[in-house]
Amino acid sequence: MPASAPESSRAAGQKSTAVYTNRPVRRWLRLFLFYSLVMLLTGAVSVLFADLLWRSGWTGTSTILLILFVILFGLISIGCMHGIFGFFLRTFGDPDRITRLGDYKSQGIDGVSVAIVFPTYNEGVARVMEGLRTTYVSVEQTGQIQHFDFFVLSDSTDPAKWVEEEQRWCELVRELDALGRIYYRRRISNEGKKSGNVRDFLSTWGRRYRYFIVFDADSVMRGETIVDLVKLMEVHPQVGLIQSIPALVNAESLFGRIQQFANRLYGPIFIAGLNYWAQDLGNYWGHNAIIRTDPFMQYCDLPRLPGRKPFGGHILSHDFVEAALLLKENWQVWFAYDLEGSYEEIPQDMISNAQRDRRWCQGNLQHSLVLFGRGLRGISRIHFLMGIFGYLASPLWLLFLVTFNWALWNFKSSELSVIVTRGLTTPFLKLSGKQHAFLIFVICMSVLFVPKILALIDLAFDRERRRAFGGLQRATLSAVIETVFSSLHAPLQMLWHSKFVATILLGIGVNWGPQKRTANGIAWSEAIRRHWGQTALGIAWGAAVWRLDEATFWWFLPVLAGMLLAIPLSVFTSRMSLGARARSLGLFLTPEEIHPPSELDTLRVRMALLEKTQAPQPANAIIAEAVLDPYVNAIHVSLLREKQLNPEYRDALAKLGVGRPEVRELAEKLLGQGPEALTTDEKMLVLSDAEVVPWLHRQAWIRPSKALATWWQAAIRKYAR
């Protein structure tokens, strides 16, 4: 039975316990200070806004506008405070971070066993395996490889991906001579999605490892960083989870490079600000984090939420909830925000980015059910709220704009003239109505832009970092362009997120379908298909506002511009050529682009080589390999047989229908009519049968051509030279 946090800390020695003695009080003060300033800023500006509404004549819509303003301004104030606090902490030093709370560098890790897990679900197999290879080699170079086992945890439901994963895993193991160090496991059913995948790993092998590190399919980590995380866990026995902060890397399109630049430039001050109030009650982002296995296994098996989808069922965004459950049981969760060497990739265009947001949106909205869970820490509720409002803010902003338009239309149709009365600010500022409105606008813009300006000042003070971004001038110019781009992108995000929230709440699924891309980026036809609605809305909305009041139209132009330019913006920012052009002009440079760490450099070179040498395979080609290739077939069958040793997998396979005569009939159909005659599920069933797969191999090679589908005849001919 795993020990609770205090028992565990006693068992592991008191080395760092003293550090935490006063922590709850200090954290309380930090939280109070941070959110009190947020409240003060929000309250003061809200009063100013309410005053403006009062001066123009209070109506029913004024109340709605005020409520929405308070919420929306509160949210941007939180962002602004993160920037301000983070800036000061970075400038004057932040002693309260996990890397400063104990001497972890000299900590040994003898006797420690760590699993590094790569959950994958129909992802690009080559990229997953190359990411693993890079991380493995990097850990090997630390001389500590003996403490680490690597697992590819596949949940893939595409038969081609499954076979390719096995094939590439075997190649990797052979090339790195890592048999017994790098493992592969595919689940029979992907129940519980990623959290279910990790849970299945823990149920099978979790007890072997003191810690496990979760990767995403596109994650890479430096070996030294991984070892540092293990050392930190060893030094701080009360810590249940440490989240590293992944830097966005490897973007090539203009969109990707802009996002990457923003992440690298603004990220550090935001995360320092977040760490200021979160401290040991941090959060988990689902990957690039080290987790203490025992408490995680004991407390973090997620319950199914009551009710139907979208809120009921499996918890989709499991990470926040898992962190909350650890915190509930008095385990600490930290952000190790100053550890470099943790990386992830991002979508290369606006449409892919929105697709990812759709998934995250549902997961975050689902947290509203957990928000009031009994016994959760207050800070966990704040983390949940911030995640929920990350998406809910969009429909609220849309509602604010629509309400404003409604009020304008109401006023115009009443044919009354504006009479601005005296207000709270009148005795001090003597502002006209327009000046008053402009003042609020300037404050809102300042709150939005202050963190960006502070990030640039932070850069200006740091010579090494300045060089890493290609110089202050280039970074400033890039930040200005990034700000213009994000201003155009924000209204589109607003429309997308509003749609996501609405469809999720109504229980309507969104089918994105396959994306049409050219080698250079999004095709024009695809952009028109995805953005025509936003553009049409922008035109209609703009025309309506123009007709109502020309002066107001110009205030609305920044919002409308994004909608009107959605199609070209989507196409051009997805272009790899424009990304490369911007790079050659010294725009959006990041430290990893100017001086790529060896692990990223190796990954980039290997991926480029793979792209050149391995042409994309036609559909079902990998099925042919699983059946015909003597080695691929042998790997697949061996893994199926090994799977049978696990009683749970054996039962699951039996439940699936493996071993029944129907599978042999399907296999006959596969040989006689080719893979097109079988559904994906049928192919998966055939490929899951450890008796049928070698039988297929033998039959395909001994039967005369006329007894095989023409598809097989063509596949066999490929082996003739």
């Binding site: 409240m39 296994m297 957990v370 009031f372 869970g373 820490r377 709270l424 001994i702 039967r703 051509s705």
Partner: protein, 221 residues
């Protein structure tokens, strides 16, 4: 390894062949069988052409010997079966394991071992070669295995119930460790609301505010 097909073709008791036939099958049929056997050895990454030719002939010779007794089977089927038998028998000898016809365990194990010892790169000349084999090769073949995971250490993870009830929550809110903070923040917000109401509700309030502001100004002057 006998490379001549003559022994198979001129076996005692073999009736005279019509022109263009070999072992009772058309030449085209044997050509198809040859191509298929050759393709299989290609699939096993046998790159040496001399070796490849020898192996294909060896398999075909066995198929031709069987051909007269099994007229219902095509040349390709016979060659395919013989190819499978030759390879599996050889695996049995190298791995010291008896072939079991019902399952394909030996064939799978053998092919996997060939891959793991890198037969195409290091030991091509040993493939289907009769004993004796180099010690290193035998050892590598017999020890070759593929483990997809370490030994299981099965454990049961059980989800703990999470009380999500709103009534429980309402009572729980009062137990929040940050309740004092929340009270202060609510007070702060109320202050702003009060400030707004006082300054906007009536002329009397406005008068009061003006007096208050004058007092503040005087205070600083």
């Amino acid at each position: 390894m006998d490379l001549s097909l003559e022994s198979a073709l001129n076996a005692p008791g073999t009736p005279a062949e019509p022109s263009g036939n070999i072992a009772g099958r058309a030449l085209d049929e044997w050509n198809a069988a040859y191509a298929k056997v050759e393709s299989y050895f290609h699939a096993l990454r046998i790159q040496n052409k001399v070796l490849l030719g020898r192996l294909v002939i060896h398999v075909l010779k066995r198929a031709m010997r069987r051909a007269p007794q099994e007229p219902q089977l095509s040349a390709t089927e016979l060659a395919g079966e013989e190819m499978d038998a030759v390879v599996t028998e050889w695996f049995g000898q190298v791995l010291q394991e008896a072939p079991v016809s019902a399952n394909h365990m030996l064939s799978t194990r053998g092919r996997l071992a060939l891959l793991l010892v890198d037969m195409p790169g290091k030991w091509q000349e040993q493939f289907l070669h009769p004993p004796p084999w180099p010690e290193e090769f035998i050892k590598a073949m017999r020890e070759a295995y593929l483990r997809a995971g370490p030994d299981f250490q099965l454990a049961k993870m059980a989800p703990r119930p999470l009380d999500l009830g709103p009534i429980a929550t309402l009572s729980n809110l009062s137990m929040l460790p940050f309740r004092k903070m929340i009270i202060v923040w609510c007070g702060l917000m109320l202050l702003f609301v009060a400030l707004f109401i006082v300054t906007h509700n009536s002329q009397q309030n406005e008068h009061l505010l003006n007096e208050f502001l004058t007092w503040v100004r005087n205070l600083f002057h």
